[in-house]
């Protein structure tokens, strides 16, 4: 999978590209509008991450160029603005998703995966993790071929965990993914624990191993080790 990252902040592009490389993607980084425009004319990418504010242009114009080229790449806009108008304009132009800074790398990773799934497999693929099979098209989870009854939140949770498997996810990151911005008003993220506990129980009831690991003082990790 080839990803093009258009971001002028080195600090940010370094973290993102190293994270994505660990995930097994081929990640190319460009720092300005001009080189990004050249790249998309010449090469094919599976997903393009575009910052709106570039030193020499507006990232939204790259979205326009991609649409003009009828590129198959998924597009995720990264912006320092969380302004509603920017969001709507970007999505109207044909971007697949929108992330406002600051965002967590786990969240970005999860968004890239779902964009790729929609684009590449039209949602008809399966995510496998040992005896667990996720079918995003029908939002269902199977353990050893048997359907697992999950609530919407539990499904979102297991998808997020598996998308970011083998990584420590803080409670905050999980809460933000599942509940959005509103939940930062809660004084603790303890309410996540209930959902983790329920999910873990349902998985183990179906004879699954305990993959949801609690990392003390940090958060949770979905891992077979």
């Amino acid at each position: 999978m080839k990803i093009l990252l258009v971001e002028d902040e080195t600090g940010l592009s370094d973290s993102i590209s190293s994270y994505l490389k660990q995930e097994g993607y081929l990640c190319e980084v460009v720092k300005d509008y001009k080189s990004a425009d050249e790249k998309i004319e010449l090469y094919q990418y599976d997903c393009i991450l575009v910052d709106i504010n570039l030193p020499d242009g507006n990232g939204l114009n790259l979205v326009k160029s991609l649409k003009r080229l009828k590129a198959q790449a998924g597009i995720i806009i990264i912006s320092a603005r969380n302004a509603v108008d920017d969001k709507i304009e970007g999505l109207d132009l044909g971007a697949d998703d929108y992330l406002s800074k600051p965002f967590s790398l786990a969240e970005l990773n999860s968004r890239i995966k779902s964009v790729l799934r929609r684009r590449k497999f039209e949602g008809n693929n399966e995510i496998l993790f040992n005896e667990i099979t996720l079918k995003p098209a029908e939002s269902t989870v199977y353990v050893k071929g048997v359907v697992l009854n999950l609530t919407k939140k539990e499904y979102d949770l297991i998808l997020f965990l598996i998308n970011n498997k083998n990584r420590v996810l803080t409670k905050e990151t999980i809460a933000e993914h599942l509940w959005g911005d509103d939940m930062d008003m809660a004084d603790s993220y303890d309410f996540i624990y209930t959902h983790i506990k329920n999910l873990r129980k349902k998985l183990m009831d179906k004879g699954c191993e305990d993959y949801v690991k609690t990392v003390y003082g940090m958060g949770y990790k979905f891992s077979a080790e």
């Binding site: 902040e9 600090g11 940010l12 973290s15 993102i16 190293s18 994270y19 504010n53 320092a80 603005r81 969380n82 509603v84 406002s100 800074k101 600051p102 965002f103 967590s104 790398l105 786990a106 939140k153 990584r167 420590v168 803080t170 905050e172 990151t173 509940w179 509103d182 939940m183 930062d184 008003m185 809660a186 004084d187 303890d190 309410f191 209930t194 959902h195 990392v215 003390y216 003082g217 940090m218 958060g219």
Partner: protein, 417 residues
């Protein structure tokens, strides 16, 4: 006081002074002329009498009406003298003013004192008539002047009031340039030019400041994103001690908090600048139920009991702002209610009320809505939530109230002021 009234009053005052002084001078001069006329008439009479005597060699007969003429013998010739006299006239039964001329007449070797009098009554009458006509003309003149002033001031001041209306209607948020029609009055033209220039400057400054605030806020988000992402990468490092992990998570959370604070401040300045002035009809009941659903997990975790009585209410509101007040007030209630406590929600067309049990505030209720006020030293709170609610209420001409009764905190948001 209106300019027109002020103008008219000054005009009246000046007219009164000018006309009373002028009238007095006019009167005095008129009187003087009349006097001189009377004196001339008396001297003419004197010549006539002397002529008569030298021609006819006898004294003319005394006349007792109009121009009185009398003769009296005297031992010595008298000096000629002119005097004003009041003479009692029987028919009129009163004393009337007369001008008198006494002179010596030599007739047949004897001295006679001849007295000629002429009535000043007619002259007085004339003066009175002239003076009163004069007064009537003045009053008429003033009346006409004031009427014209009132009538024409509407026409003359029309461009001024038009400009005034345009200034009143001017809204800096609408980014329109104020265009004022030119007009023939030089002063108004100058005023209009000055206003157009001023509004252009204000508009430029406003936009500069606004984009500066927004850009500064946005620029802050990128370094915060870097901090957050770097800590996230750091957290994946093998062999971190608990203490190290805790520190890293704290850095991460603080960066989140800073970002949240920044976003809220940006939002508040946007609200202040009326960037959310467009409203639409919203089903407020729906907003509340959706929010309750969103907070379901928190409510369940604290085992809170929600008692709600929600009427079906539609309000004109900006959707983001409506969401924000509900979100802030509800999360506030959830946060400050003890486990297994109760939260009461009530929605009527007048407004909505949210109350929860809890300890009394340490500070006064008036402090509650101020920026950065925190009831507790709570690291997760920005201290801006209620200030934001208040701000939203103000720009929408709504009202938000807080009261503490029977150990229950109640916030009421009214859809009117």
């Amino acid at each position: 006081m209106r300019l027109l009234t002020k103008n008219t009053l000054i005009l009246l005052l000046v007219a009164l002074v000018v006309f009373s002084v002028g009238g007095f001078i006019f009167y005095a001069q008129l009187k003087n002329i009349m006097n001189e006329e009377a004196v001339e008439a008396l001297y003419a009479k004197k010549q006539e009498v002397e002529h008569y005597v030298s021609n006819n060699h006898k004294l003319p007969e005394s006349v007792s009406f109009e121009e009185l003429l009398s003769f009296a013998e005297s031992q010595t010739p008298i000096d000629e003298r002119l005097s004003d006299q009041l003479i009692y006239i029987e028919t009129e039964e009163e004393e009337l003013p007369y001008k008198q001329l006494c002179f010596n007449l030599l007739f047949e070797g004897k001295n006679y004192t001849c007295t000629i009098s002429t009535s000043l009554l007619e002259a007085d009458d004339l003066i009175e008539t002239i003076f009163s006509s004069f007064a009537i003309i003045i009053v008429l003149l003033i009346a006409v002047f004031i009427t014209i002033n009132f009538l024409f001031s509407k026409v003359i001041w029309k461009p001024f009031f038009k400009t005034l209306k345009q200034i009143n209607d001017y809204d800096i948020e609408k980014h329109q340039v104020l265009t004022i029609d030119s007009n023939s009055t030089k002063e108004f033209q100058q005023l209009n030019e000055a206003i157009v220039k001023m509004t252009q400057k204000i508009s430029n400054d406003f936009n500069n400041l606004k984009s500066f605030t927004e850009n500064a806020s946005h620029e802050l988000q990128t370094p915060l994103a870097i901090i957050k992402n770097k800590t996230e990468v750091l957290l994946q490092t093998e062999g971190l001690t608990d203490e190290q992990a805790k520190q890293i998570i704290e850095i991460n959370q603080t960066a989140s908090r800073l970002s949240k604070l920044n976003q809220t401040l940006l939002l508040m300045s946007k609200i202040e600048n009326n960037q959310f002035s467009v409203t639409e009809t919203l089903n407020f009941t729906q907003i509340l139920t959706n929010k309750l659903k969103q907070f379901e997990d928190l409510i369940e975790m604290k085992q809170l009991k929600i008692i709600s009585s929600l009427e079906n209410v539609e309000v004109n509101f900006h959707p983001i702002l409506a969401d924000m007040i509900v979100s802030n007030l509800l999360s506030n209630a959830i946060k400050y209610t003890a486990e297994k406590g109760e939260i009461k929600l009530e929605l009527t067309p007048v407004g909505f009320k949210i109350s929860n049990q809890g300890k009394a505030l340490k500070a006064g209720a008036d402090k509650l809505f101020t920026r950065f006020y925190k009831e507790n030293e709570d690291a997760t709170s920005t201290g801006l939530g209620l200030a934001l609610v208040k701000q939203i209420a103000i720009i929408n001409k709504h009202k938000v109230n807080y009261e503490y009764l029977h150990s229950s905190h109640t916030f009421t948001y009214f859809f009117h002021d």
